[in-house]
């Protein structure tokens, strides 16, 4: 308060001095009591104005949430002036009212919880394999929360985007995904969960039984964590599955794939932090990497990005050299569509792809407005421009419209060839 008054006096010295001069002039020389009184009001208002300005000046960049008080103060003085200076009273009252509205709105803004977006991650290329565990844990915290020490900050979020769904602190509400506090211990218990089917992936009832054919299940706590990142649907903690799937499918994206695309090094950093922050001794970098390599096939491992933290928007999902089942997996078709003959393709958000049977019927549908004349054309059109014809009962705009750019011509051809041979009630074609 004292600081505020001194600052206000320092700022408003001259106007106040002049007004005081006027006061003396009116009071002593002119003996005009009413003018003197008005000047007094003026001095008071000026004093308040400069206090308001001083409040702004001192606290502008500070944590103080009391700046709107300045605006309220100006409102008060404007109305006061409006009463005594009736000739321009309307201006004062309108101005005062505007200050009041602004004060209320910025007061509201200051009353809400304050979240500050952290600094962007630095543009340096990180050498995860050469880091100490402490450095690795710091990088992990940055990836999860956006900065070192940010894990204590409400709402902080980093490139990994984990806190959008997961709670990280003990007792935190986390209804979209499991709270990850205590995961170093829990991961060891989870692999013994009967639903986990340790060592027997084929017995799992989840939509995806293995991270990739032949990957197997986790055998250690770290492998459990790695598998959860690489294949969230392989095992879904009870109660956290996609609604209506009875916990057979997870809403979480595979973290090594777009849009998040963490590299193995980054995943190792994340895991190291999860151990380190609970005072546990994390597995070594090499051990963690090995655990990930078990679940992420060579071709799917994101390369460490050079200088662009965002996922490479221009890169292809599949270039056509892969077998068709891998193309379906890489383009993530399998997440939403059931495709007979393709392992893991059991999604239900989109229609079942028996296009050898469906396509001819769809083209005949009076509601069909597309340009396709044949089954391959229809499939091509549906992949490149999904909204041209939307199958009844399924929402429009759910399927991304980017596949035209994300798949090479070769990959597209393989998809079309395969799908046009899938017919209802017949053996699926061979994967080529």
């Amino acid at each position: 308060m004292v600081e505020l008054l001194t600052e206000a006096l320092a700022l408003g010295m001259w106007p106040l001095a002049i007004l005081t001069g006027f006061l003396a002039y009116f009071f002593i020389v002119k003996r005009d009591k009413s003018a003197a009184f008005k000047t007094l009001i003026g001095i008071l208002a000026t004093g308040m104005l400069f206090m308001a300005i001083a409040n702004y000046k001192i606290n502008f960049f500070g944590e103080s949430r009391l700046l709107p008080v300045s605006l309220a103060m100006i409102t008060a003085l404007a109305f006061m002036m409006g009463i005594y200076f009736s000739s321009i009273g309307a201006l004062f009252k309108i101005g005062g009212f505007m200050f009041l509205v602004a004060a209320a709105l910025s007061g509201y803004g200051n009353w809400l919880p304050q979240v500050e977006g952290g600094f962007p991650p630095p543009e340096v290329k990180l050498q995860f394999d050469a880091m100490t565990k402490e450095q690795l844990a710091d990088e992990g915290e940055k990836i999860i929360f956006g900065g070192i020490g940010q894990s204590k900050v409400q709402g902080a979020i980093g490139k990994g985007q984990c806190p959008l769904c997961h709670g990280f602190n003990e007792g935190f509400l986390s209804e979209r995904a499991p709270n990850l506090f205590g995961i170093p211990d829990r991961s060891k218990q989870r692999i013994d969960d009967p639903r986990y089917h340790k060592g027997k992936p084929a017995e799992r009832d989840s939509v995806q039984k293995e991270a990739f054919p032949g990957a197997g299940t986790g055998e250690s706590g770290q492998e459990y964590i790695s598998e959860s990142h690489a294949c969230p649907s392989c095992f879904v903690v009870a109660g956290f599955g996609v609604k209506g799937t009875n916990d057979k499918e997870s809403p979480m994206p595979a973290i090594h794939k777009p849009p998040i695309s963490l590299s193995l090094g980054e995943l190792a950093a994340v895991d190291t932090w999860m151990y380190a922050r609970e005072g546990r001794d994390a597995p070594t970098y090499e051990e963690i990497i090995k655990a990930y390599e078990k679940f992420i096939p060579e071709a799917d491992r994101p390369k460490q990005q050079e200088d662009k933290p965002a996922a490479g928007a221009g890169s292809l999902l599949a270039d056509g050299t892969e077998p068709v089942d891998q193309i379906f997996a890489k383009a993530q078709c399998v997440v939403c569509h059931t495709i007979p003959g393709i392992p893991g393709a059991t999604g239900t958000q989109g229609p079942k792809l028996v296009e050898g049977t469906n396509a001819p019927n769809r083209i005949k549908d009076p509601a069909y407005k597309g340009a396709a004349k044949s089954t391959p054309e229809y499939i091509m059109e549906s992949v490149v421009s999904p909204s041209t014809y939307v199958v009844k009962g399924f929402p429009d705009n759910l399927m991304p419209k980017v596949f035209g750019q994300k798949l090479s011509a070769g990959a597209m051809k393989k998809i079309v060839d395969y799908l046009s041979q899938v017919k209802e009630g017949k053996e699926p074609p061979k994967i080529s």
């Binding site: 200051n110 977006g117 962007p120 543009e123 409400q154 209506g244 809403p251 221009g314």
Partner: protein, 644 residues
Amino acid sequence: MGSVTRKKTLSVIALSAMIGLLLLPIIVAIPALASGGGEPAAGAPPAEAAQKEGAAKIEKARDVYYKTEGIVSGAPAPKTADNAQFYPRYNFESRVLLWFANQQHLYYGSFVLAVPIFCMVIEFIGVVTKDKAMAKKYDQLAYDFIKISLTAYSLTAILGGILIFTFLTLYPAFFGYLSSIFRPVMHIYALMFVAESGTLYIYYYAWDKMKEGLMKWLHLSMSVVLNVIGTLLMFLANSWIGFMMSPAGVDEQGRYLGNIWHVIHTALWNPLNVHRILGNMAFGGGVVAAYAAYRFLSAKNDEERAHYDWMGYIAMALGVAFLIPLPFAGYWLMREVYAYRQQMGITLMGGLLAWLFIIQATMIGILFLSSNYYLWQALGRMRGAERFQKWIKYFVFILVVGFLIFITPHTIVMTPAELKAMGGQQHPVLGNYGVMSAKNGGINVIITTTVLTFIWYMRGNKVPAVSWSKFGNIFMGVFFFFAYVNIIWLAIYGYYIPANVRVGLSVPQVATTLSCLFFMTALNTVMMKGAKQLGPIEWGKISVRSQYALIMLATAFTWMMGLMGYIRSSVRLFWHVNEIMRDNSPWAYTHTVGFGANMISFNVLFFWISIMFVFWLGTLGAKKAPVEAKVPVPGRAPEPAVGH
């Protein structure tokens, strides 16, 4: 008589020549645009030649958004570092200075773009109105509007200069990059600006000279030209921000690929354009309404009060007319944002900036509440409107309930921990509208109630005299009742069906609201034909409080514009140009909500203080020129239906 005709013809020719000259830059610009900015047209043949010679100098690259191949014809985006070369600075946060300069320019720019549109509309109403006194009144009003905007126009230009200067001084590398990208259209921008100024001045100064007959129509068409230029100018300005948010026409390194149309026509350009036009109009209405309120409150006699009461009413009605479609344009913009980058959408609605959207929701509610309040107050100046007063309390109740639902976030906010999880990941289809059928129910209830209030206002002093009036009233009542039922039912229904079906519910909800708006106002207009008047509208007899409602509307609107602009700008996070050019200045982080709110308040108040000064200057001018006789205000005369 003959000489007069000749003079007229001559002046028409002179005027056409002038307008033609002013339009020349646009005509010149069209082929340049069509060929993609001139440069590739000239650049292509040598490129082929070079290839034939085997010189591998021509480098091709892929457009980041359109995915087309293009010849690299620009330097990559500069990689900046935190030093005085890239970010020269005063002893203050550069970003805040630029924020201030930008926002002020934008406020004035919006205002001077919106007012000519009003002028056009009002002048047109004036021309087609049969009632001579009314026509003159409208004409005078349009003239008043353009007079206000003229002073603001020069201020806009000055502020634009200050903005460029600030930009150039504080962010030279960034500005240099942007202007190198937009170089092919920079001269068009400049020429259009000249054309805009020229047309505006001719339009203003020729007002009295071109009052009658054909000349009046010419004058009116000039306002159309003025608005076309103004709108194009704004589109060009928008292309800069569109490029910053969703770049296109460059490769991953930010190198220009020779197609300027791609650079302009980015993913978010059109939604931004539509949103901004509507926003400008509502904002302009607010500013003019505030001006009228100021003149009303400082009026010295009844005649002035009547005039400015009327002016405030017209400005408010125009502003609200554009406020109603604004949320829908906003939905479209958000949908495009989600389609462009889901992450960007989540940052906006469910991440870092989510609280700002809570503020926005609150403000939309406040805007509708204020306009309702104004209309209820306005009932007070009509004899015969007393019979509606007792219903207002129920309206307030409905509005408040709708408002409270509307500002409640989708997931119940108990802690920020809950909020940070809001929106986003759980639904794969957030790209559409957002999964907020309940909130949509809230806002639609508010808008429907506003429509109902407006219909009551239109009926204020009248009783329908058509033979089927009883049926009409009952039908209207039943229709509104079931509209409310349908909106609320859909809101509740949304909780029982899966998210991907739920997203669609907002469309029938909006359709219900719009059905009320269109059918019921139309039905009401038909029913009011030849209605029995209970008493005249006594312009000027409105309460003082109502004028504060107008000021509230104007201030809140300005604030909201600042808020939305801040949100739009900060969603790029630490990118100057999204994913192309990084912000490496010390101010690449996002401020807290409170800081943002304080800054917006500062900008808003600065704008209002300065524009009130402009208004005040305007009154000085008016006093010195008593020649400009006030048109007798036919306030007491029966108003034709257009008065509403």
